[in-house]
């Protein structure tokens, strides 16, 4: 199946690149008109967005396998950041090695469109296997913490994120206007735009904090700005990229908006717990990969099961 030829997909990607051009011009204008303000972070954020959009577009335009490999690699980077920031035990090396290998399995089931295996592999088989590996090593001290944190990380960074890839494995002949790649683009674009809208609205209008303990930057004003933007775009893009009808499109927008908000808070809570600011430094201006896909770890499974239940059962 080649999705690269879909006009709708290219249209939306072109629209995203146009908005990025606009954002780049606005930032350049800001830097020019207010030379005393420091826009270094904003600048590197935009530059990183260019790189992300470029790599993501190539990955989804080449073919299904390229997109799946790309998402598997994102899972790997996110899991690595997670395991590098949490406390681990020296004796967990073998179990961690198997956890990394499970990424290949999980995305292989996606590639094979084997839904049954995809949905139970990590929650059942890997869940049972990793403690077994730890038991055979025999280190009891800290066993529950290790078994628990390792599997929790796999659920978020591999199982959760791989749902975005499974959109590519849905049957192509079921009336999706831009194929599985269109669904993937719809999910990823809306999740990221929701993050941005929340951030921008929060910065400009934010007064009332939602969860001061977990993340002082999250405000009701930002949340509302995110919801309005995301629902609006979900509604406009649904006929171009998805089989969703108007009511379902609004629901999808709400799911992505609130899901993304909670996914973001979820990773923020871990970082607060561990006393770190960013999960990594791979994406200048953003932090680590985990900081960029935290929302997606919630929106991917939620959006997938929403659309799967309604249109692909």
């Amino acid at each position: 199946m080649s999705t690269g030829l879909s006009n709708n997909l290219i249209l939306v990607l072109a629209g995203i690149i146009m908005s990025l051009v606009a954002a780049t011009i606005v930032v350049a204008f800001l830097i020019h008109s207010r030379p005393h303000q420091n826009y270094a972070e904003l600048e590197s954020r935009i530059r990183t967005w260019w790189v992300i959009v470029f790599i993501f577009s190539i990955a989804i335009l080449v073919n299904r396998a390229a997109a799946i490999i790309f998402l598997a690699f994102v899972s790997f980077l996110a899991l690595k950041e997670y395991l590098s920031m949490i406390p681990t035990r020296r004796s967990d090396r073998q179990a961690m090695f198997w956890a990394y290998l499970s990424i290949i399995g999980q995305y292989y089931w996606v590639y094979k469109s084997w839904y049954g295996m995809f949905i139970i592999f990590i929650p059942v088989f890997i869940f049972l296997l990793l403690p077994l590996r730890m038991v055979l090593i025999g280190e009891i001290k800290g066993f529950l913490r290790s078994a628990g944190t390792l599997h929790w990380g796999l659920m978020i960074t591999v199982f959760g994120l791989s749902h975005s890839a499974y959109l590519l494995a849905l049957p192509a002949d079921s009336g999706i206007p831009a194929g599985g790649a269109g669904l993937l683009l719809y999910l990823v674009f809306l999740t990221q735009i929701n993050d941005i809208a929340q951030y921008v609205c929060g910065k400009l209008l934010g007064r009332h904090k939602v969860t001061p303990q977990v993340s002082p930057n999250k405000t009701y004003e930002g949340l509302l700005g995110g919801v309005i933007t995301t629902v609006l775009l979900a509604f406009i893009l649904a006929p171009v990229l998805t089989p969703l009808n108007q009511v379902h499109a609004i629901m999808a927008g709400l799911i992505i908006s609130f899901g993304g908000f909670i996914g973001d808070l979820n990773i923020s809570a871990i970082k607060r717990d561990l006393g770190i600011k960013d999960s990594g430094a791979l994406l200048p201006g953003h932090g680590g990969v985990l900081d960029r896909v935290d929302s997606l770890s919630y929106t991917a499974p939620l959006f997938f099961h929403f659309i799967y239940y309604l249109y692909f059962r």
């Binding site: 690595k80 950041e81 590098s84 920031m85 681990t88 090396r93 090695f97 990394y100 990594g280 430094a281």
Partner: protein, 213 residues
């Protein structure tokens, strides 16, 4: 021939493996030397340490960087010797000074006069992963010989977890690298060691590392 083989080995295997598969966070990269002669001094946790330090400098400088390592380990057999000395560019030295024989640091002095960048691990061996052992004084003698050559302290954390002594399969942990201000012009051996130690203490306290036991 061997130079292009080294370039190929680094760009196809070492760089992708260490910079992408393992991953690295560098603080204060600007403190790294931009040309030789210079000495990079680092704590030692893993076989990957020297390779990682070599990837931090631009690829064009690759043929000018040389890790200094113990002869008895790396010249054990011919294959390892070829790999270490020819492919990586290791300068092998004797661990011990035997009276009557020439100074074991002689090859190192030669390299510095040749404007090379050296990588030195003053702990002398990898030891317990992520535990710093006492520094040996060879580096201070080296600096005494060449007071104008900058000695750059680099603290690394993570590779000892990725590939500790005695293990063969790497399990990735992102490597944290902290590069300190270059030391220069201290000719008193003990004072130099004091300064170096305190520099490593400051660097290692820049970040709270997750528990690993």
């Amino acid at each position: 021939m061997i130079r292009s083989l080294r370039r190929l080995f680094f760009s196809l295997i070492v760089h992708p493996f260490l910079q992408i598969a393992i991953g690295v966070n560098i603080r204060n990269r600007e403190n790294l030397p931009s040309s030789g002669p210079a000495v990079i001094v680092a704590n030692h946790n893993s076989h990957l340490d020297a390779l990682m330090l070599m990837t931090l400098l631009p690829m064009r400088m690759l043929s000018h960087i040389h890790p200094v390592a113990a002869e008895d380990y790396f010249l054990k057999n011919r294959l390892l010797a070829w790999f270490a000395v020819k492919l990586i560019g290791v300068i092998p030295i004797k661990r011990k000074y035997t009276p009557g024989k020439s100074d074991p640091l002689m090859p190192v002095y030669d390299a510095i006069e040749d404007e090379r960048i050296l990588i030195v691990f003053p702990e002398g061996s990898r030891g317990e992963p992520e535990h710093m052992a006492a520094f040996k004084k060879g580096i201070a003698h080296l600096s005494q010989h060449f007071p104008d050559v900058p000695v750059v302290p680099v603290f690394m954390h993570g590779l000892g977890k990725t590939l500790p002594k005695g293990k063969f399969i790497p399990v990735p942990y992102i490597c944290d690298v902290f590069i300190g201000k270059p030391l220069k012009g201290e000719t008193d051996v003990n004072l130099f060691m004091e300064k170096l130690k305190s520099s490593f203490e400051t660097l290692s306290q820049q970040h709270q590392f997750p528990e690993w036991e």
